[in-house]
Amino acid sequence: MTAYIVRRLVFILLVLAAVSILVFAITSLLPANVAYLILGPFAPPEQVRALEVKLGLNDPIWRQYLRWAGGFLTGDLGVSTLMNRPIAPMLAEAIGRSLMLTGASFFLIASIGVGLGVAAALRHGRALDHSVSVGAYLGIAVPEFFWAIVVIMVFASWLGWLPASGYEPPSAGFWIWAKHLIAPTITLVFGHLAHVSRLTRSSMIEVMQSPYVTAARAKGLPERVVVLHHALRNALLPTITVLALDFGRLMGGIVVVETIFAYPGLGRLIVFSIQNRDLPTLQASILVVAAIYAVANLVADLLYARFNPKIRYGRNVG
């Protein structure tokens, strides 16, 4: 088991290194002069040259990369070309706020999604199952930004219950802080709920039809025991993987949702940096996102290994 953990850690570090190269390569090697992108196509050549020197753009590519990557390891994420401020603290604040959002959303998605999936599977073929399936289709089909608009229309414009945008720190008061979180959270949760509940449902159905569940029933065990004790632990194992994947999609979702709700988190930062050609910020943000996702995957791997006896206990006795 220890060996497994170490292997996964090493793997993730390697992947992150590769991702950093990929991110750097995409932003640096595409045939577009960065300086012109920033200054516009009509900028005078001296200004362009000055900017190039300032950004170190005339160095060989690998040196630029090493400088950038090296900075990361020491906590220096570069300087935003848009706001002329160090990126690291900006990013840290944005991450904090996004984590509030994604944390709340993930918690809801995991608990409601898995719960619905299991419930639907247990009532396979009946009313609850059908409504969950139908709901799932809707959830998958509605794009996040559209759903966000509907939520704003209904809850903000029409009913006036929730603010349509913005953010207030917890220091401004719990309820005020929470109110700004609710609408974006609902938006995020709805779409992902569908995905998770669907996959949980099929995993659970498969387990309920497996031979060992039939065998447990053949022993005359009460149905409650069969489901909770025998079935659930095997059905939830693949759910861990699904939730990890979904965490990644959730992080993708905040890009659009934060933009629509003007929520000052990581997603909005990324969009701003794109719209304003702030490449250093973009690079740093994406790499940080990849790192967070990688950590989430690692946690999922560890949980999976912990609960799967085949990995935890490896070799044969008999």
Binding site: Y212, A215, A218, H230, N308, P309, Y313, R315, V317, G318
Partner: protein, 607 residues
């Protein structure tokens, strides 16, 4: 103890309602074992599920009473039935691996019946579980109780399952093919165990199987099922030595026997009737060689000679034998002492698994498991000879077959085919060898490309090796189909439109297409029912006689091998432990492993 009367069960499927069981009567009595015997589609597993009340939701019990210890189970509510299930009626399933929950320890799964039915605490149940594991012959039961299913071998898992079923001390034990997935030596041990348990605890056992020899070993009484009906029932010895119903006769004529090896097997032609609309009269009619005008009338179970038989003509057919194909005139294997077709010398193949890293303290160590499925094996096969290769699972026999054909690369050793050394050649220079040496696979569902018609499947090898000009290919395909006794129009069929036996025939035809001198048959009949098996074995025998092809016939079923082979090779853990003339090995084996293997095989009584 357990009495099932007039049970009729139907299944609703997307293609219609199938009547799986029709009016079945079964009794299991204390201290006695009743066996239910049938092939696939006979409905035998359904009986087990019905007795336990575990029929799936798509099923409908159209009629029948199940009475256990005086109580009618149908009259009880689900709660009461559940209390009986597992505590007074136990069920042991077929595949010991998938039936155990991979996430729970063995001890817990053995003991949970006690917790829920007898009010034991977890600790008490665990202690009792260890005792039971000991009783079923598991070494080191305390450690095993803490282990997980994936850590145990097949035999141990089955023992654990039996322990779990026995824990609540049931009065009736139902076993559904408990030894089918096990090696024959393990099977023998499990059967011994079951007999001892039955005697010791006075159980009533209902033993379901397709294997008549096993049934002979363990059952007092046997009921033969066909297409959902019991066609014959009586004392085991009687039914197996002098069967009365034509189907039972056919089955017994189809099984290869130790004592009468050269006798030609008799196959049962035709198919099961469509159970969506079962025929009103005898369901075996379409396949019965003794069919007569009276057989279309509904048949009932009648008493005859202390047995029950469902056949109108049973009495008059008493002394008639199942029609048997003629035994060949001369001893087979007209092998001249010409040069060997296949010759392997000191062939070895090693697999290295589990290249993981372990930590001893802080230092990482590389951990490897080395398997050697083929260990220094040497063998010659002469033209037209059949060499049977037997061994249990893990013996390496399949690996050997594929290594000879270079589908798996050996580590060292020499392979000669048709006199040419082929072991060192690069893969692209093996054309000539591949023409001369072919293979027939085990699993009919996997051996044919589902997207190709039979015609295309057979044409490919012909075209690939340039065996005939374009225009002649269809004629060749037809000839191949005829050789394997399939009608010509099958060339337009796809795999999913054929039965298992038919698919195997196509597989054999495909191997023959290149006109090889040597064919490796890798468990070619293991996935087939006994009645179908006989036809395929006969086909292979005829092909050997007509075409002079040499076979390496790989199987775990010694009876089949012994029936067909000239020489037999026995493998154990990669080593070839004994090789000799078939007669000699069967009568007087020398190596201890061979002796153990042969003594473990359950036998049928002489006819």
């Amino acid at each position: 103890m357990l009495e099932i009367s007039d049970l009729t069960v139907r299944y609703r499927t997307p293609v219609g309602e199938i009547e799986a069981l029709t009016s079945i009567d079964v009794r299991a009595e204390r201290g006695r074992t009743l066996a239910l015997v049938g092939e696939s589609g006979s409905g035998k597993s359904t009986v087990a599920l019905a007795a336990m009340g575990l029929l799936p939701s798509e099923s409908v019990v159209a009629s029948g009473r199940i009475v256990f210890d005086g109580q009618e189970l149908g009259a009880l509510d689900e709660g009461a039935r559940r209390k009986l299930r597992g505590s007074r009626l136990g069920l042991v399933f077929q595949d010991p691996f998938s039936v155990l929950n991979p996430s729970l320890t063995i001890g817990e799964q053995v003991g949970e019946g006690l917790v829920h039915h007898r009010g034991f605490t977890q600790a008490q149940a665990q202690a009792r579980a260890v005792e039971l594991l000991d009783e079923v012959g598991i070494v080191n039961p305390a450690a095993i109780a803490k282990a997980y299913p994936h850590e145990l071998s097949g035999g141990m898992r089955q023992r654990a399952l039996i322990a779990g079923a026995l824990a609540p001390e049931p009065a009736v034990l139902i076993l559904d093919e408990p030894t089918t997935a096990l090696d024959v030596t393990i099977e023998a041990q499990i059967l011994d165990l079951l007999e001892a348990l039955r005697a010791r605890r006075g159980l009533a056992m209902l033993f379901i199987s397709h294997n008549l020899a096993v049934v002979h070993r363990i059952a007092d009484e046997v009921a033969v099922l066909y297409a959902g009906q019991i066609v014959e029932q009586g004392r085991t010895r009687d039914v197996l030595t002098r069967p009365m119903h034509p189907y039972a006769r056919g089955l017994l004529a189809a099984i290869p026997r130790f004592d009468d090896r050269r006798r030609r097997l008799a196959a049962i032609p035709g198919r099961l009737p469509d159970l969506r609309a079962p025929p009103a009269g005898c369901r075996f009619l379409a396949r019965c060689p003794f069919a007569a005008p009276g057989c279309e009338a509904p048949q009932s179970l009648r008493s005859l000679d202390a047995r029950a038989v469902r056949c109108v003509r049973a009495n008059e057919l008493r002394d008639t034998h199942w029609p048997r194909p003629q035994d060949p005139e001369q001893a087979r294997g007209a092998r001249n002492d010409a040069a060997a077709v296949v010759s392997i010398e000191r062939l070895t193949k090693t697999f290295t698994l589990g290249r993981g890293w372990r930590f001893s303290g802080w230092r990482p160590r590389k951990e490897e498991i080395v398997l050697r499925p083929v260990d220094d094996v040497s063998l010659d096969i002469r033209p037209g000879e059949v060499v049977g290769l037997v061994g249990e699972s893990g013996s390496g026999k399949t690996t050997l077959g594929r290594t000879i054909l270079r589908l798996i690369e050996a580590d060292c050793g020499e392979i000669r085919i048709n006199g040419e050394v082929v072991s060192q050649r690069p893969q692209r220079n093996l054309e000539a060898m591949r023409r001369a040496a072919q293979i027939v696979f085990q699993n009919p569902d996997s051996s044919l490309n589902p997207r190709k018609t039979v015609g295309a499947l057979l044409a490919r090898p012909i075209e690939r090796f340039g065996m005939a000009p374009r225009a002649e290919v269809p004629a060749r395909v037809r000839a191949l189909l005829e050789r394997v006794r399939l009608p010509a129009h099958y060339a337009n069929r796809y795999a999913h439109q054929m039965s298992g036996g038919e698919k195997q025939r196509v597989g054999i035809a495909r191997a023959l297409a290149t006109e090889p001198r040597f064919i490796v048959c890798d468990e070619p009949v293991s996935a087939l029912d006994v009645s179908v098996q006989a036809a395929i074995v006969n086909l292979l025998a005829d092909l050997r006689d007509d075409l002079g092809v040499a076979f390496l016939f790989i199987s775990h079923d010694i009876s089949v091998v012994a029936h067909f082979a000239d020489r037999i090779a026995v493998m154990n853990r990669g080593k070839l432990v004994e090789l000799g003339e078939a007669d000699q090995i069967m009568r007087a084996p020398r190596h201890p492993y061979t002796i153990k293997l042969l003594s473990a095989v359950p036998r049928l009584p002489a006819a």
